[in-house]
Amino acid sequence: MGRSRVLAYTVLSLGAFSMLVPFLWMLATSLMSTAQIYAFPPKLMPDPLQWQNYPAAMDAVPLGRFFWNSLLVAVLTTAGQMVTASMAGYAFARLHFPFRNGLFLLFLATMMIPPQVNIVPLFMLMSRLGWIDTYAALIVPGLFGAFGIFLLRQWFLGFPVELEQAARLDGCNPFQIYWHVALPTALPALATLGIFTFISTWNSFLWPLIVTNSEMMRTLPVGLAAFKGAFRETTEWGQLMAAGVISVLPALGVFLIGQKYFIQGLMSGSLKG
């Protein structure tokens, strides 16, 4: 190994370690007793390991319910995005209709709108619809989006014409071709969109914060924020970190499993510019 490679690996290892420290510290704190947490100098390793913060956190707040809310919202949003984006993406890529390019550009233009600009009118709309503090408010506005349409359109542009023509000769209508012939080939693009949507919905904070009132409707990030806000003088860091570990694991799991597709999605976003 050359000198520059040794240097590169040293720098990378130090950097990687500092990336991991907050995660490890969250995990370590969640496994410590209160006495260990407030010890000085700080104990770096929990000794003895103790799990008590996890049941204690679940007693303090309905963590299971938060988890279920987050999961339900993320799964349904992801499924919905895959359906709406692939339908529109297919139409934009393979069907001919008036104003096709103009309409597509309009969709792309909506990607430039920062979501924060819309939250006030969207909140008003939710309250008119009577959706505040319901799953509908947490899910329905997230079912659509231009990013997914763009991603799926790119994929369907490369879909072989021969397959389409064969299906037409067999008497398939455009919807049947989309559903039975084109969609099954689009699994990689759908995986990319799905992983992206799942992780961003799972981590989303501002929107669920605004549209939920009752404790039972909170998603994990909102529940965690309220849990922290409930402490004033002394914060139960052990319980808070235990809740943090539970909230972080699913998104990390999905990322580790689908890393390849996630990075590809990032690239297509950067190519689009």
Binding site: M26, Q116, I119, F175
Partner: protein, 291 residues
């Protein structure tokens, strides 16, 4: 297949997205614009006030402080993040399984909930029992009040912001580096250029468009910061960490000044749109030059 038939099918396929994006994105963005010219507390009917929200906003010292804070946060995050991410990407641009492991590790904060991350960092920054002050004391340095200090609260948020987004920029740089033709390095080698000269004369110019893209994207992300401010500081101490989206949230959902919140939203939108349009036009120029 008759053309007449085809557009009807297209309409059905597009209908969910047309309705969804129309109702939940296009109409709200227009409504938000309209509301920025009205006074409204969400209870009594809105009252048209023309440009008053904007003139009041620009006359409010807090507005300028919040804008300053937002620019300060975004600028310093990007200035720290870009060189770090580029350096890591260059170090990482080599084959091997270890590099893949590193890439995954650097990317973990990007896919982790900002709320959970803010909680841990909040704990690390704890003035009495936090890891950071313990480390400082171990080195014989004085303790810092971090999130309670008017001087250090913003740098504390910035450090966390860099840590969180570093992996994103690094992965984009890594992809950019892989498009640099290997012949250029070989030619530079023949000319006797050392590693640093190769980086300055080959890598940087070749990476120009990527560098620009990452900088703009990171700036846009940084301008939208909300979660850590809500969790860690609530804009305190003394509004030194109050940023645009947090102030918008306070105005809309704590003080019910809907018109003023909408005006803030449109100022933010204006800044971000300008950045995006600059990004697009510069990118287009680059692409045109290449072809």
């Amino acid at each position: 297949m008759e053309e007449r038939n085809e557009w009807q099918w297209a309409l059905w396929l597009l209908l969910p997205s047309l309705l969804g994006v129309g109702i939940f994105v296009a109409i709200p963005v227009l409504a938000s614009f309209g509301l920025s010219f009205a006074h409204w507390n969400m209870l009594s009917p809105p009252k048209w006030v023309g440009l008053r929200n904007y003139t009041e906003l620009f006359a409010d010292p807090l507005f300028w402080q919040v804008m300053f804070n937002t620019f300060y946060y975004a600028l310093v995050v990007v200035l720290l993040e870009i060189p770090l991410a580029l350096g890591l990407a260059v170090a990482m641009n080599q084959p091997g399984w270890l590099v893949k492991v590193f890439r995954t590790i650097y990317f973990l904060p990007v896919v982790t909930s900002m709320v959970a991350i803010a909680l841990v960092w909040n704990w690390i920054y704890d003035p009495q029992y936090g890891l950071l002050n313990a480390a400082l004391q171990g080195l014989g340095l004085p303790k810092v009040e971090w999130l309670y200090s008017t001087v250090w609260a913003m740098p504390a948020l910035i450090a966390m912001g860099v840590w969180k987004n570093l992996g994103y920029s690094m992965v984009i740089f890594l992809a950019g580096l892989q498009t640099v033709p290997q012949e250029l390095y070989e030619a530079a080698d023949l000319d006797g250029a050392n590693r640093w000269q190769q980086f300055l004369n080959v890598t940087l110019p070749q990476l120009g468009p990527t560098l620009f893209f990452v900088s703009v994207m990171s700036t846009i992300t940084a301008f939208q910061v909300f979660d850590p401010v809500y969790i860690m500081t609530e804009g305190a101490p003394g509004n030194t960490t109050n940023v645009a989206v947090y102030w918008l949230y306070q105005n809309a959902f704590e003080n019910f000044h809907v018109g003023r919140a909408s005006a803030i939203a449109y100022v933010l939108f204006g800044v971000l749109l300008t950045l995006t349009l600059i990004q697009w036009s510069v990118r287009k120029k680059w692409v045109d030059q290449e072809s």
